[in-house]
């Protein structure tokens, strides 16, 4: 065993980004299209050692290069050694994976699992639910860490190194989003025969104008989704914001109002977080785990269908039996492919609503952090927003009520000491 590990460690081949096999198999893409998409992604984004930025995408290549590749050091003007390469691989990849798929070597033993950046969805941010995080949001997560999870604080890194990591996370997210969209586009628009595993319409953007137009459209739409997230920051109305200085009595009154709201059927908080803010009700998956759950469900349905078809085969007359056997062969091949992909995936974990009474808040514990969390909900999770879903309309709760909930929830902070 040791020998095997040692050999693996000595493997000098440059690491590659792993293709999003789950999305590819789910879309029933044929091998040729899978390889062509992967090739196009290398064309657009380069490799883990040598990142590239597609035209029109707002990413700083110099920062990316600091994060990419293997750890490398240089001396500064005072003769101090500082890290100039490989920050992501040194600090992040063991959990988040080289590809940013949240499946690094350490991921399987963690709960919750490390974030998979590829869908481009982030939970801890100041912006509206569907908007991307700002650079400051991502920086804040790196500086703070995520309390109650395995994500530590990287606050001791130099500011420029943190900037490089933020840029690299955005790079992996944008790359992952482009990959998903290319898969969906090819699966929807190009012709292929999943039963035979062949296509007469290869995906070759370098040679085909229409294929290139598909790529340009996909990249442009992802670029647009990352355009100016700072304009999407949720800013509370100054009129209803609590005063900076409040007396103990005022504070107690607000906390009590928040507690009443928390318990009310109107806010529905207790349905998931429990009446004591501790006895949580686990119901559902977040979007990342749901996708894996759905993938496994569909595999199970397919397996059941194959078993039934096998059982029925002897009873069929010869004319029907031929096509039934062909179908069985192709379905069995698909099931085998799905099985191989399943092995790469992490068993889905149910989303655990926060046990608020512990006073540990993952996305930051400042009043404004919790205000935005309750106002917009948490992207990619079951947690809905209580505030207005878009500017200018009323939400289920008023901003004043949300501040009262914030005060109540923050009253548990002392429990975390």
């Amino acid at each position: 065993m040791l020998l095997v590990l040692a050999t693996a460690g000595c493997n000098n081949r440059a690491p590659q980004f792993a293709p999003n096999r789950m999305a590819m198999i789910e879309a029933q893409l044929v091998d040729e299209h899978q390889q062509q998409i992967t090739q196009e992604l290398t064309e657009l984004f380069g490799t883990p050692d040598d990142p590239r930025v597609p035209e029109g995408v707002d990413l700083d290549v110099e920062l990316l290069q600091m994060a990419a590749g293997q750890a490398g050091y240089e001396k500064d003007e005072y003769g101090h050694e500082y890290q100039q390469r490989g920050l992501y691989r040194q600090h992040c990849a063991s959990c988040h994976g080289i590809t940013g798929d949240g499946r690094g070597p350490a991921a399987a033993v963690l709960e919750p699992y490390p974030r998979d950046f590829r869908p481009g969805v982030f939970k801890w941010k100041s912006t509206r639910l569907a908007s991307k995080p700002t650079d400051d949001d991502l920086l804040g997560v790196l500086q703070r860490g995520v309390s109650g999870t395995a994500m530590p604080s990287f606050g001791l890194l130099a500011p420029e190194q943190l900037d490089a990591l933020v840029e690299y996370v955005r790079y992996l997210a944008i790359r992952g989003q482009v990959e998903r969209e290319l898969i969906a586009t090819v699966a929807d628009e190009l012709d292929f025969d999943p039963a035979a595993g062949t296509t007469d319409e290869p995906f070759v953007p370098a040679e085909d104008e229409d294929d290139q137009a598909m790529v340009d459209d996909v990249v442009a739409s992802i670029v647009q989704s990352w355009q100016s997230p700072t304009e999407q920051i949720v800013e509370p109305d100054p009129q209803t914001m609590p005063a900076d200085e409040r007396t103990d009595a005022q504070m107690a009154e607000s906390i009590e109002a928040g507690r009443q709201l928390f318990l009310s059927p109107r806010a529905k908080c207790t349905d998931c977080h429990g009446a004591d803010a501790r006895s949580i009700v686990v119901k559902d998956y977040d979007d990342w785990n749901q996708a894996v759950f759905d993938f496994r469900q569909r595999s199970a349905t397919l397996a059941a269908q194959i078993a039934r078809d096998r059982e029925n085969l002897p009873g069929l007359d010869s004319s029907l039996a031929k096509s039934a056997r062909e179908r069985l062969t192709s379905e069995s091949r698909r099931l085998k492919q799905r099985g191989q992909v399943s092995e790469e995936l992490l068993a889905p974990q149910l989303a655990r609503p926060r046990e608020l009474a512990d006073g540990v808040f993952r996305g930051g514990d400042r009043s404004i952090d919790l205000f935005r969390r309750i106002h917009q909900g948490v992207a990619g999770t079951p947690m809905p927003g209580q505030g207005s879903p878009r500017p200018g309309v009323e939400g289920a709760l008023s901003e004043q009520e949300i501040w009262q909930l914030v005060d109540y929830v923050r009253s548990f902070l002392h429990n975390s000491d």
């Binding site: 639910l129 442009a220 989704s225 349905d271 979007d287 397919l302 079951p382 878009r390």
Partner: protein, 261 residues
């Protein structure tokens, strides 16, 4: 940045460009979807502990058949070619601003499938005496918010979705609906008896997409005059002033039971 500029220019152009008139007139497409074979078993819903929902007792609606085995909630829509601009009949221009309603009623989405055009308001309502939340993953236009008892919320979408997208309630995970957002109005949902009709289509050859939540692309479907391909697509020539009837399209019950080709 050049690419974004280009995108912006394209978007602005489509805003000022008036739809081309259909020189060749307008026609209708209709048909009826019917399940052939034994209907697959309906899964039971786990209604959790909500008192109101347990009393309302919503049933699984992932496959709704009438006595003739007509299949409800099949989505049929025109699938334009990349970059194709479709002429829009004046009747549809009138209905472009009419809100589409989606109610939370008896702990179920009513209707289960809604179609909405880009820019057309979607009125999300909750007529139940309990709070619901509504969640949909629509890329940049995703949402997930609380809908108070007897409350409502109006939304509009700027971007079409390639395929119908699921809509759910985090408080009541057994609730399931679907939302179809398209650039043009040429879409329909089959009714209780499995029939559908899309009126005032621009004459000419078009490709139509057939979709149902169980299999996704409706992989099988055959009538005396038409056969869906493996992605549930069919090319049809719409004749001016004419109703093209695809007849009874039979769907193999296997298709509705399992994700298979």
């Amino acid at each position: 940045m050049r690419m974004f500029g280009l995108l912006l220019a394209v978007t602005c152009w489509s805003l000022i460009a008036t739809p081309a008139p259909a020189e060749d007139g307008w026609g209708t497409l209709r048909g009826k979807l019917v399940l052939e074979g034994t209907p697959p078993e309906a899964p039971k819903l786990d209604l959790g502990k909500d008192e109101f929902c347990c009393q309302a007792e919503p049933k699984d609606q992932s496959l709704v058949l009438d006595k003739s085995q007509g299949i409800a909630n099949v989505v049929v829509y025109l699938r334009p070619e990349r970059g194709e601009e479709l002429a829009v009949h004046p009747d549809y221009q009138k209905s472009a601003d009419e809100p589409v309603e989606l109610d939370n009623k008896g702990c179920a989405f009513e209707p289960r499938v809604v179609t909405v055009r880009v820019g057309q308001p979607l009125l999300l309502k909750n007529t139940d005496p309990v709070g619901h939340s509504v969640k949909a993953e629509l890329g940049d236009e995703s949402f997930n918010f609380m809908l108070s008892a007897e409350g409502d919320q109006k939304l509009e979408f700027d971007k079409a979705q390639r395929l119908p997208r699921p809509i759910s309630c985090s408080i009541h995970p057994f609730m399931q609906g679907w939302i179809v957002v398209r650039d043009d109005p040429y879409m329909a949902i089959s009714g209780e008896d499995g029939t559908f009709e899309i009126k005032n289509l621009p004459a000419g050859e078009h490709e139509f997409q057939f979709w149902h939540e169980r299999p996704g692309y409706l992989k099988t479907g055959k009538s005396s005059s038409a056969e869906l391909d493996r992605r549930g697509r069919l090319k049809v020539t719409i004749k001016p002033g004419d109703k093209t009837d695809l007849g009874t399209i039979k769907v193999d019950s296997r298709t509705m039971a399992v994700e298979s080709e």
